[in-house]
């Protein structure tokens, strides 16, 4: 199987957000593979190990993304491609999906996996937009995938219910929490990753009309949520605390 994984470099989930001049500051921030994309990488490796073939990880990003791509190679992916678009202004999900669509134009693929959302912008748009541009069927938020020949059977998380879906390859899927437990890259895997191919291309090396990939949306400003005032730690006997809590919720907060 020819398997591709879409990967994004994102803030570590432990990072606090600092806003500087209306923008999120990335100063001193630790980056990781977007956790949902990590599920996708893991699943791609498992499928490759089971069915044979090759896993290629693709990222639209900046040069720094090389680190996350190397991590995916260390986990067991075979190849990585970085589509550098640092010089590109005005990007949004439409931009990313269009660049990817151009990249996939001359590729053979059976399966494209991505994360269900990224943990920064959380739009969940890139996968479905890409599928639409490529004319591919897609299944979002999968928690299981089995491939048998040309057929994939998937489980999809629908607000707690599970849909069992059948689809034919080629297919695009996006990974939801619970799909698998991503492995830690092994130390020998990390050593080997250095020797695996990591290709860097510039977005304008692709067959793209710059006007067509221009962002459709723009961010006007970014801000932090209002700080919560200090809460009230109740005291006294537990029974008294509970009574006080319920009466507070009932009368002050008007909730119950």
């Amino acid at each position: 199987m020819d398997i591709y994984v879409l990967l994004k470099r994102t803030f570590d989930t432990e990072e606090k957000i600092v806003i500087n001049e209306g923008k999120v500051s990335d100063e001193g921030v630790d980056f990781i593979i977007n956790p949902y994309d990590e599920f996708a990488v893991e699943e791609a490796i498992l499928l490759r190990d089971k069915h044979g073939g090759e896993v290629t990880v693709v990222s639209v990003g900046s040069e720094e993304t090389e680190k996350e791509l190397r991590t995916a190679l260390a986990m067991g992916a075979d190849k990585a491609v970085l589509i550098n678009c640092e010089d590109l202004e005005a990007q949004d999900q439409h931009t990313t999906a269009s660049i990817l669509a151009a990249f996939f134009q001359d590729k053979d693929y059976d399966l494209i996996l991505g994360g269900n959302v990224s943990n920064d912008n959380s739009t969940g748009q890139v996968g479905p937009r890409l599928a639409e541009q490529l004319g591919l069927p897609y299944v979002t938020m999968i928690t299981n995938i089995e491939v048998d020949g040309n057929t994939a059977t998937l489980k999809r998380d629908v607000e707690g219910d599970t849909e069992v879906i059948e689809a034919t390859l080629p297919l695009l899927v996006t990974a939801q929490q619970g799909l698998n437990e991503p492995r830690y890259p092994s130390l020998p895997g990390i050593m080997k990753a250095k020797r695996k191919p990591l290709e860097e291309i510039d977005y304008d090396d692709l067959d793209i009309d710059e006007d067509e990939i221009e962002a459709k949306t723009e961010t006007i400003t970014t801000f932090l949520p209002p700080e919560k005032g200090a809460g009230k730690i109740l005291d006294g006997e537990l029974e008294v605390q509970v009574k006080e809590l319920v009466s507070n919720l009932h009368q002050e907060a008007k909730i119950l």
């Binding site: 607000e159 069992v164 801000f223 730690i233 605390q241 509970v242 009932h250």
Partner: protein, 325 residues
């Protein structure tokens, strides 16, 4: 300058979902004197149209094709596409629900249009529609706009206030017979979740458990409290990782992001990833043995104590409050 705003209403268990009314309220704001159109698929119940009028729709499009009785990406895509082509709206609004998340990017891509996902607030400033949406799972927010063309947006349930019901409102009902070819993804089966009926993303009240729950059985008192409150049960990553519950219950940066009116955190320490998923809840109650637990920093009310003592007491107290009322 009025806008035509099209909302797609969603049905669950034969009833309109709340988020559909919230979408109408948003549409009303945006329409700026224009027209609010609600499309509804997957039901032949005529009373649904009535209800949509009561909550702000000026016109209702009944989308008809029996394939739409169950959601499929290809089926609903073709249907919605046809409706959009008929109505020719300036703005399209869906709920940021499983359906909305799955379908909206594809619709936007087909129209080569911008999509604002997961909006929590919508304003019209100088003729411009400005959306507020959380980023980094609610650790920050951004204000965003679509630069040109049709505006697509999904709205997060529970954030935009629905209009008060006005039973006197009525309007024109149109029927759109849609043509649906070729379903490339087929739903073979739907397995209903084992937990109580209330969905996390739309729940007004959530009772959540963390590592302090200690076992799968430890959720029992939480479920009893949830039942009393009509609440949904959620969990922290710690509880999911420890196999006390399914990942579908996980709240936090790598799980669901929720904003209920009341969030009761039981035995949850309050890792930053968890806080990202729930700290924008309106009122937060924390119950934890450790007085130093981080969760108390975001809680409106905190009880330091063993959840296995506190939660049953709380359940009883709420029962007696109900009896008293």
């Amino acid at each position: 300058m009025g806008r035509t705003v099209l909302t797609f209403a969603e049905i669950r268990e034969n009833e309109l979902r709340n988020v559909s009314f919230e979408a109408l309220a948003a549409a009303k704001d945006i329409s700026d004197g224009g027209e609010v159109v609600a499309a509804v698929a997957g039901s032949d119940d005529d009373s649904l149209a009535e209800t949509l009028f009561h909550y702000g729709a000026d016109r209702v499009v009944k989308v008809e094709n029996e394939i739409l009785d169950h959601y499929t990406n290809d089926g609903y895509f073709q249907a919605y596409l046809q409706v959009i082509q008929t109505v020719k709206p300036d703005v399209v609004i869906l709920g940021h629900t499983a359906l909305g998340k799955d379908l909206s990017p594809r619709l936007a891509a087909r129209f080569n249009a911008g999509l604002i996902s997961d909006a929590t607030d919508i304003e019209v400033i100088d003729e411009e529609v400005v959306f507020t949406r959380p980023i980094y799972s609610g650790k920050a927010f951004e204000k965003k706009r679509v630069k040109e063309g049709t505006i697509f947006a999904t709205i997060r349930p529970n954030n935009i206030q629905a209009l008060d019901k006005d039973s006197s409102r009525t309007g024109e009902v149109l029927t759109e017979e849609v043509v649906i070819n070729d379903l490339r993804t087929v739903v073979k089966e739907v397995v209903r979740k084992a937990t109580s009926g209330v969905d996390l993303s739309e729940a007004k009240v959530i009772v959540a458990g963390g590592r302090g729950i200690k076992s799968a059985e430890g959720f029992k008192p939480l479920e009893e409290l949830a039942e009393e409150l009509g609440a949904a049960v959620g969990a922290s990553r710690g509880a999911c990782d420890a196999d006390y519950c399914d990942y579908s219950l996980q709240i936090g940066q790598t799980g669901k992001v929720v904003t209920p009116d009341l969030y009761i955190a039981c035995g949850i320490s309050g890792a930053i990833q968890h806080l990202a998923g729930m700290s924008n809840s309106k009122v937060i109650v924390a119950i934890n043995k450790d007085p130093e637990a981080n969760i108390f920093n975001v809680a409106d009310y905190g009880i330091v104590g063993d959840l296995f003592e506190v939660v049953p007491l709380l359940t009883e107290e709420i029962k007696s409050l109900k009896v008293g009322v």
